[in-house]
């Protein structure tokens, strides 16, 4: 009876109106995930269209500068559309086509998932509508135009805190109104079953590649993996292949905003408690009455009050560590990687870079550290300039 559980977390806490829709998604996914033709078509898209496999790059200057572990960057920023989001989107939109859907909808925070969804929809001839919090359409204006250019309609969500959480609310409401012809391309390892499983599976290509590439380059497994965590899709994509390798440390970096001792934070594991929301049992930032807290991060993509249920379980069983990284640290990480390696990371990924700067020097020179560079930072340049007191607007 209990489906999609990760320890106590997960489940399907959604309105009855959506139940047959998620059951249908699960049925089709189970049918096609091992269908050779589907697999071949997806692989072809990932390789020829999205540019996979992505590079595993040895960051030599950063390694030398930090003076500890040997640092590799998994370059998901080099994928088509500029982030890891395309991995999941190509899989889901392909599945939606098999399901006979003609329209896809999606939430987006920073706009990376929205851009990826709009891209896949353009490629596969589907109608596309994207829901994005008003605060995010303001701070990521360029991505809004990008999505429109790709043929999508972007809805600016003005309810609640006007950020990612509210974009998810609105997309769920829209799906409730129109399940017949519409698939909800959920962008992270969250929401009701089967989404945490499907998104993880489509993203797990990241970790599979890292394992293969690391064995080729170093002849052994890495000692630690670092990724940023909002809902947690790039982290789960990297971690999943290594869960059964107990000597590989898995480290998720949460957005601490101004700090975990302030109320301007989005660090769910550090400050949240178990709750049930957005279709899943997991950790959420909330008050004593279960009202979801308004969260904050400089990064629109990590500005979410919950976390995927599989991460919640990895946290409970101690398999993965989750650490908070502040706005200041992330911005410094953003600037550091730009200067040191000539790679401008997404402000989301910069949270992982920031923690690596702390961790690497504590490790020995023969240890291997992989940072998931989940996205590129072009979209953040103007915002970071403003953070530093500049007057640049897109």
């Amino acid at each position: 009876m209990l489906k999609g559980r990760f320890g106590i977390h997960g489940g399907q806490y959604i309105p009855e109106t959506l139940m047959n829709a998620v059951i249908e998604v699960e049925d089709y996914y189970n049918r096609y995930k091992e269908d050779p033709e589907f697999i071949k078509e997806l692989e072809e898209l990932l390789n020829s269209y999205a540019g996979r496999p992505s590079l595993l790059y040895y960051a030599e200057k950063m390694t030398r500068d930090l003076g500890g572990a040997k640092i590799y960057l998994k370059r998901e920023d080099l994928n088509h559309t500029g982030s890891h989001k395309i991995n999941n989107v190509l899989g889901q939109v392909l599945l939606a086509k098999r399901m006979g859907k003609t329209r896809v909808i999606a939430e987006t925070g920073a706009g990376q998932h929205g851009v990826a969804t709009a891209t896949a929809a353009a490629l596969m001839g589907m109608k596309c509508e994207i829901y994005m919090g008003k605060e995010d359409t303001d701070r990521q204006a360029l991505n809004v135009y990008r999505m429109e250019l790709l043929g999508a309609r972007v809805h600016s969500v003005t309810s609640g805190t006007q950020t990612l959480k509210d974009a998810v609310n609105e997309t769920m409401r829209e799906w409730t109104a129109r399940v017949e012809d519409t698939h909800y391309v959920l962008g992270s390892v969250m929401g009701p079953h089967p989404f945490p499983m499907i998104v993880r599976d489509f993203q797990s290509v990241i970790g599979r590649e890292v394992k293969r590439q690391m064995l080729q380059k170093e002849g052994r497994l890495p000692d630690a993996l670092i990724a940023c965590v909002g809902g947690g899709s790039n982290a789960m994509g990297l971690f999943y292949e290594f869960i059964g390798d107990p000597d590989v440390r898995l480290i998720g970096c949460e957005a601490a905003g101004y700090g975990v001792d302030t109320d301007k934070t989005a660090a769910t594991m550090a400050t949240g408690s178990v709750g049930i929301f957005h279709g899943m049992k997991s950790y959420f930032c909330q008050d004593q009455y279960g009202q979801i807290a308004p969260v904050y991060s400089i990064s629109a993509g990590l500005d979410y009050p919950g976390v995927g249920p599989e991460h919640a379980n990895l946290h409970d069983i101690g398999r993965a560590e989750y650490v908070p990284v502040t706005d200041d640290e992330a911005v410094e990480g953003f600037e550091y990687l730009s200067r040191t390696e000539g790679i401008i990371p997404a402000i989301e990924s910069a949270h992982a870079v920031a923690y690596a700067r702390k961790l690497a020097p504590t490790m020995t020179k023969d240890q291997l550290l992989v940072i998931n560079l989940s996205g590129r930072g072009d979209k953040d340049v103007a915002a970071i300039a403003r953070y530093r007191g500049g007057e640049i607007y897109e």
Partner: protein, 259 residues
């Protein structure tokens, strides 16, 4: 016969919904008492939630007003106790799983029992997850109301067979809110439920006019109205009580006698 069954014992039922604490808990208390006097057969009280994903804009705004006004689950329980000193109308809470879970599901149901709540409606807990609530509901004799939707199809049989109190038939796709047209499929939904179980069926989502309500009860046991009432509360604020009372009177008449 329990209180929920009694709500359907005098012919067709009229079931209004209001959000507790909108515009204040004092007004909510007055509204419940007045709506009961005007013939409401069962009253749904919404415990406001920060992120009500099954609600349209009207009730979303009511939740925001109630939370901004300081309504909390504890204060709402206290209000229910005050209402119960003067009013015995069957009462159901409508809220989301997180406010219940975080409050402590057992403590929540115990307080429902002690304050006088007869049933709960939780739109983000489908059949598959009802064990989250059912054991506690049973322990404290709070009825867990099941919802069925136009998309439920073959699930109706499964849901109806384990339903208690009444079945909440969601008339339309999408979220709560006033609608011009209500799909005729809902009549089929009610028939399917009745084939499985002899249990009252009330129809909600989209109903606002006496004509719509009268039509819905031709093939069901009750009409549920939320957004149309919450709109009156929004329009008149602290002065809303007589306007809501008048509306409930007209709706109740339509449900009992037709229009």
């Amino acid at each position: 016969m329990n209180k929920v069954q009694k709500a359907f014992a005098n012919g067709k039922a009229f079931i209004p919904f209001i959000t507790a604490g909108d515009p204040s808990l004092e007004i909510t208390e007055e509204l419940v008492i007045r709506m009961a006097e005007e013939g409401a057969d069962l009253i749904e009280l919404g415990i406001p939630f920060s992120d009500p994903i099954a609600e349209g804009l009207v009730i979303q705004r009511a939740d925001e007003r109630a939370l901004a006004g300081g309504a909390t689950t504890d204060k709402i329980f206290d209000m229910v106790k005050r209402i119960r000193q003067v009013c015995s109308v069957p009462l159901a809470f409508m809220t989301y799983m997180n406010p219940i879970f975080t409050y402590g599901t057992e403590r929540f149901m115990k307080n429902c029992r002690e304050s006088g709540i007869d049933a709960i409606i939780v739109p983000d807990v489908p059949f598959e997850e009802k064990d989250e609530l059912m054991p506690y509901c049973s322990n404290y004799s709070v009825e867990l109301i099941s919802l069925i939707a136009p998309t439920s199809q073959h699930r109706i049989r499964q849901i109806a067979s384990e339903a208690q109190g009444f079945v909440y038939c969601v008339s339309s796709m999408g979220v709560t809110g006033v609608r011009q047209e209500i799909s005729s499929d809902v009549e089929e939904m009610v028939k399917l439920v009745k084939q499985v179980k002899d249990i009252p069926c009330a129809i909600g989502f989209g109903i606002s006019t006496p004509e719509q309500a009268a039509k819905m009860v031709q093939f069901s046991d009750g009409a549920i109205v939320g957004s149309a009432i919450v709109k009156i509360v929004e329009q008149y604020g602290v002065d809303c009580v007589p306007y809501v009372a008048d509306y409930v009177r007209r709706m109740k008449k339509a449900v009992k006698q037709g229009v």
